[in-house]
Symmetry: C2
Subunit: 347 residues, 2 copies
DNA sequence: ATGAAAGCGCTAACAG
DNA sequence: CTGTTAGCGCTTTCAT
């Protein structure tokens, strides 16, 4: 209960018979204070168990040395790599991060934004909740020229920046790969739309079809949230299609994996009958048989890039105008689940 | 760049022709200020776009309203549920959380502890890095009576508290289940020791064997980190054992799943030839065939419990003495991978 | 029910 | 190179 009294720079000052400002300067490695005094001060500070008070410092300097991070669902395994990337870069630059979880709810996202605003973070990285249309709840930050970086969503708001992957291209690559494997009727299972990224992957899918003069069949488009139940339901629908597709591109590995499982259970061969490509490069893709062809989601790199960009803005405050949209490279990872050609030839 | 001037309570005070103290009191719902003024103040504050300055407040009150969270590896999917549990409870109680990643390194854990200490968090929740022997780096917190709660590790330091599962019991349950399924030579694949939890699961394993008068064979104990490579290597060793085991208990689902895959590839039947039980209840367990029997790791509940306990200490500052070790219940989830008996009977 | 005044610990002019 | 001084925005005695 008795938290013991904290040592302040005044204590050190008295102890060393110098002024508090000298202590302050010395502790901040200000070159105007002699090297000798600097050493003396920092040694004594250490001995006395001094720790600087960030509140006083922040109050004085009007900045928090903290970056706010809002994620749409902490409970989502693929986010950990992104967070770890952000954490790494932020700490390297001397910033702390404070993470808020929107738990899939736009309301919570809004309240998180306000909360971060209250806490006066110096910058924000946001993994937007699905369905967040126009993010006007960020206005307070933008008004104050506090940089906001969006992950996975290219926002056209001026003064914001974003880090994304080229979802159109990913969708295109995945689909073209299936076409190259001989697929002609390729189903597309998308996570619920409202999230821009899925629409973009769909665009890529369509353009690959078009390029190969394959007609687009509306019935081949299914929607399934990346959950067990939804994925199974989608797989059932898939098998009831007539004629049955010979290829499948799903926007989540979980869905792809669930579908493969259902297909195999039903006696459908993968990839011989239906070739499958997923999205994300989750570890589960390597576990299932056949191993899952997928698009690598470069989570760590996304996080690092976002944090690095943010820090850059924060340090060189000048270039807040030069806001950019960075695209991180994502590639197709080919494993067995899509190798229809080989599977058929092997027969 | 121009961050615009912030509204302070002085601005409101001037505007309303009252003193700053009244504003402060009103904003904090102090009953000594008349209900009417309270309303007037809060309305005007809202209109003027006032946001309180947490630094000034914290500086004054000597507390940060923040809980520090240290995890041994942010990049680990099973942690997300824990974090999400912590986040939920902490925010409900008006605390923010600040997450630090030790990235598997004890050094980083130590630096994180110092960093949180500098930032003057009001309490700490720690998921210890493996290999952290005696955690004396927490001494600064304990000296100041700042509560520290350990997850997954029962620490005998006085003044600390912990939230754990009964790993001995879990190991026992898993092993007994295998024995009940008719297994007589049960292999145990553990994640690298140094982490108390694995040793405990091993204890449980041994005691189940003992209970059934099964001899313990040293060669049945294998070590594998929960990575793809290690798990595959362990699976290979497993199959080279002579005689081959008829059961397997692995301390991670990933390892269990990898082993199942290797076994199936080698023509070994699961569960008929070897019954398998994993640990954690990762989603991948439901994806593989046969579906994985596992021990449910109640991540969300662990996180919630830890945060709730911490908050309790923080609010009723008195009972820092009454530190406890909470054990959260974890249960066996039986799926196909372990049902040897049925598999054999089915034949 | 409200006001006046002091101070939390630090930094940054300014002055020497 | 170092000291003096003022003030960041808020809370909190103490007075009224």
């Amino acid at each position: 209960m008795e938290r013991g009294k904290d040592i302040t720079i005044y204590d050190i000052a008295r102890d060393l018979n110098v002024s508090p400002s000298t202590i302050s300067r010395a502790l901040n490695d200000d070159p105007t204070v002699s090297k000798k005094t600097r050493k003396r001060v920092s040694d004594r500070a250490m001995e006395m168990g001094y720790r600087s008070n960030p509140f006083a410092r922040n109050l004085r300097q009007q900045q928090s040395q903290t970056i706010g991070v809002i994620v749409y669902d902490l409970n989502c395994p693929s986010l950990t790599s992104v967070l770890s990337g952000i954490d790494k870069e932020a700490h390297a630059a001397g910033y702390g991060i404070i993470i808020m979880d929107s738990a899939q709810s736009l309301e919570k996202e809004i309240s998180n934004v306000q909360s971060l605003f209250q806490r006066r973070v110096d910058g924000v990285i946001v993994f937007p909740a699905p369905g967040a249309k126009e993010p006007d709840h960020f206005a307070p930050f933008l008004d104050k020229n506090i940089p906001v970086i969006f992950l996975d969503r290219a926002i056209n708001l001026s003064k914001t920046s974003s880090v994304v992957i080229d979802n159109v291209r990913c969708g295109y690559l995945a689909t073209r790969h299936l076409i190259e494997q001989g697929c002609r009727r390729i189903a597309f299972i998308s996570s619920p739309v409202g999230q821009e990224v899925y629409a973009q992957r769909y665009d890529g899918y369509c353009s690959a079809l078009r390029e190969s003069d394959l007609s687009f069949d509306e019935s081949l488009l299914l929607i399934a949230a990346p959950t067990e139940e939804d994925s199974i339901a989608a797989a059932r629908k898939l098998m009831r299609l007539n004629p049955v597709p010979d290829g499948l591109f799903a926007t989540s590995d979980l869905t792809a994996a669930m579908c493969i499982r259902q297909l195999l259970d039903a006696g459908v061969r993968v990839p011989a009958d239906i070739a499958v490509v997923g999205f994300n490069n989750d570890v589960l893709g390597k576990l299932i048989r056949p191993a899952l062809t997928t698009v690598n989601y470069p989570g760590t790199e996304m996080g690092e890039t976002a944090a690095r960009n943010l820090v850059k803005h924060l340090k060189g405050q000048g270039n807040v105008g030069s806001i950019s949209a960075v695209t991180v490279r994502a590639e197709l990872i080919v494993r067995e689940s899509s190798l229809k050609r080989d599977a058929l030839r092997g027969k």
